[in-house]
Symmetry: D4
């Protein structure tokens, strides 16, 4: 693996099924990353040390996922100068609105770049876009990624137009 | 002033008009307290040190007020074994729902005793009730406080019944 | 069992699967408790008597769980000087937002120490933290409890770092 | 005044500007009422006694207004067999959504007839409609009240149609 | 069956599983009722005629259930002088908040007595309480109903206290 | 004025300051309209007659504004085959969320074309767009209206770019 | 199929199970339509071209469904003068409230005719009502459609009245 | 001014009082920027061209502010590979929750880095943090900025501790 540039952290290993999607995207873009569990509430000292050292360890962007009273992204952002991307994890009672508000509503001075509830893929794509400002090869890969997705949509549109609604819908259901 | 038993902290001095109501209650009960500004996001190291030492400094309860992505109460709770009471501060855009969710929705393991939005008085009364478990004199004071408020309501009820709605309402408006 | 210091009450026995988690925590900490059903709406006299006598019966903290228009925690708080911890129970239609607002938004004068929706564990841990202010042995147990949870997180983090995302995720799914 | 049939109660005299609108409606219908302050949280014993005796004192309907964690209507409903109408009072932070949920979301067994936030007039009109089931004279008055309001709307509609938008709007602004 | 005094109407027969609970309560109280489907949007003329005649047909209270943009209770209330009780039906997307707001937020002049989302039982109990103002026998039945429910709670409390949490919980799960 | 093609109705003349903006747009497009007050709740018969005859009177589109439990747009839609555009009026307690849900969440079979809270201008522009499907001259006017607004934005952008932020901001404040 | 007058577009083929209901309605009314996938975010150029040409291609109304940060309906509305009907698709985390707000809260100048969450049928019925302003045959079909649905309700009401609640409910469950 | 690296755009010049705060931050950091008005809905072609060319014009980050159905940040993000930071502007009816959901809830593939409602300062600070990954001098400035804010908090804390609550509060009010 390439030298890790992105740190992916989460408050609990129960967030891994969601947060691993960020890792998949970075794998696809061949961007090195470190992924681990750092709990703001259960391991506050670990969080402090982790966040304090993340810059000097050579990382460039932090992706932090957390749910409920989600303090991890904001606390890490207050402890490092690196850009921090927050992923609000969906919760059982409040569907992630609690996570979203806890992450996005940061006070003046300490921003967290917040993405949609449970959308760890987009956190990774945002990290890639940030690195791509300076890395031309990553810019090209991002361009191809977008292009490919665009073609997929267009191809599906063509198939739908040709098959008609009923047949396409039937295929969709058996897929 | 008595030896401080309660620490009242807030994320910003702009929270003081709200949080000072907690101090007023503690003054009334002659419970010693310390009141200061500790910002989770702008002074994370200060918060760490403050929270880590609060127990050994002889405090018994922490009252923490914060607004928006309000991480102060939960982070202090993760750094001390003392009970932490959280006051969600009302915010301009989301009226304090963001503060409430950020404070009350703590994950399993680290509770924050949350009171109503902007209700710093109740935070102080809860702290008093906690101390009153062991301090009989405080229990008596709390009893009198409640009794006095009860009598105020009953007196108002009597006045309203005697004056009638219109006159009482007129008095209320000129008061 | 030790002399009960904590009263755990709930509005309905259908809340028991949630509220029993508070009992489990207290069992773990060897803190004596009483657990019963007290309905504010179906047994108001029982609630009055229960709340009125709870102090003289030697209890120190009340944990009350209720859902929907959840009046039990607040009404008990108005009838005793003991600290009352409220657990908003998740509801079918409003996911416990109704319970949360009914419990946390208490008026000036009568606080309820509110924890997260359905988080009865935290209610018990808060009660333990309150008792631990004076009971040194409980303070030590709470310290160990936190330490143990911290180690669990760190161990999981290490395993995740060593196994890699895919393998850990596979283990997680089969666990 | 006629023998009081309706009890109008509220949690605080600060609710009087809103709740007095119920009294105005009952005055208009010449329905006797009693209006007073009964706080569920500050005067729970008074509330118990009040609610327990309200039936034997000859009242027929209770109108109860309260704000925030609004327990008065539901608790009174649990203590009397009379129909209880709840008025959710608008609140500073949550605009009365807290009051509404605390009043309307009653569990199976104890209903509260809830009206719109701050709409004490409708509470009184509902009480009148309930009494009018058996009192024919009240039924006639209610019919006339509705008829009069209907005519007011129709007259305004005619004026607006004749004046045109601009002139009517100008009149509206100077009114 | 007794002469029907209560009309139970709903916007769609898909609301019947919920609204039939109102009928069960009325059956228990031996209060006569009529139950049918009246759609404000699909059968507006039927709704108009139904609502206009409901008083002269000898009914005393209307219970109306509807979901989404739930106009049935409010429209019927505008067309009859009888008290109308509204039941907000839970919806797929907004969990019945849309139904609740559409029913409870009636403008000044036309109240709808709103109960909790999906709580048709309470609508029936409220109707019974309204009739019981004048019908002594119904008052007695309501008293017994409440007493019985109270005893059930107390009995469950006793069983829980005697069995202990674990055994009771096991029984609850197998029940 | 041209033969009226659009009916603008509102639940109360207090909605006129908002709804008159629809009239201003139609004046600008020289589209004839009728504007009046029709209350679903206070004048249900008038609403029925109005809605039933609106098609045969030659109207083509109805714009209906209402607030709170806003039934006017949906009820009119159920009584006419003409397209009905609903304007949710902002309310004091719930900011128009109640109006929005009451208007937009119509059940299958009877749509209401809902626009943004208080956005009566857009209701009129939507009505114009509907008429413009067949009226070429209206299509041209709509094109010019859009073009003009586009130019205004571009001109403002140019001014801002030339003036710089501070000067433009100063002008904005004195404007 | 008839010459397509309605364009049904959606942001993703995963919206097809919902949006195909619009097609079913148009099939029933024998109104020609085109149905395809146009993603505002993944195929912005395609969206631009599609929207820009939709008028000159002879279409009369656009139906656009999208979920989450749902920009498709509003962006298409800004690129064509044709009326655009927006269908907010229900989402996993926010149940379609995000989709609803993203579609309905359009700024002054560019309306989107918004229907209920997931209610693609109503989008199609609204499109039919718009076409029916000028097409008399469509007006007649719409009248029959409404009449048929009305009869279905009335028939169900009759059956329910005759069968009684229990039997009807049993049939409903086995249906 | 330095070569512009950041593009600050907003949907309307009425957003300037909020968005100009981003410019102030960039001025403080001596980071070059361009600030202009680009409306997704009123000037879609301008938005397309602007977004398409922003990368080749040498910009590195886009900050986009918009309110209501806020499509500007997401649409620009779909048209450029540069990282886009979205600022949800507070709105009159929904306080910016509509803006927040429209910006943050982007679908998989196209992220928008969302900051708190109206928090344009944080958008600029996030942009600075992104540039600071590679620009060491900017990293140093950001460090100093944070340090300075930290010192301000600590100084305020000291003053508050020395003055006491009442005096500090009095000063705060006259400030």
């Amino acid at each position: 693996m390439n030298k890790p540039q992105i740190a992916i952290i989460m408050g609990s290993d129960s967030d891994l099924p969601t947060m691993s999607k960020a890792a998949e995207i970075l794998d696809m873009f061949e961007v090195g990353y470190e992924l681990t569990v750092v709990s703001a509430h259960r391991t506050p000292e670990r969080m402090f040390n982790y966040a304090k050292k993340i810059y000097s360890r050579g990382f460039k962007v932090v992706i932090a996922g957390a749910g409920g009273a989600a303090h991890l992204p904001g606390m890490v952002a207050s402890l490092t100068l690196l850009p921090v991307i927050g992923v609000p994890i969906k919760t059982a009672s409040l569907s992630g609105i609690d996570s979203l508000y806890s992450i996005v509503q940061m006070p003046r001075g300490i921003p967290v770049a917040t993405v949609a509830i449970n959308n760890a893929q987009n956190a990774a794509l945002l990290a890639v876009a940030i690195l791509a400002i300076e890395e031309k090869s990553l810019h090209s890969k991002l361009k191809m990624f977008r292009e490919k997705r665009k073609l997929t949509v267009i191809q599906k549109a063509r198939e739908l137009e040709q098959m008609g609604v009923k047949k396409y819908l039937a295929n969709l259901r058996t897929a």
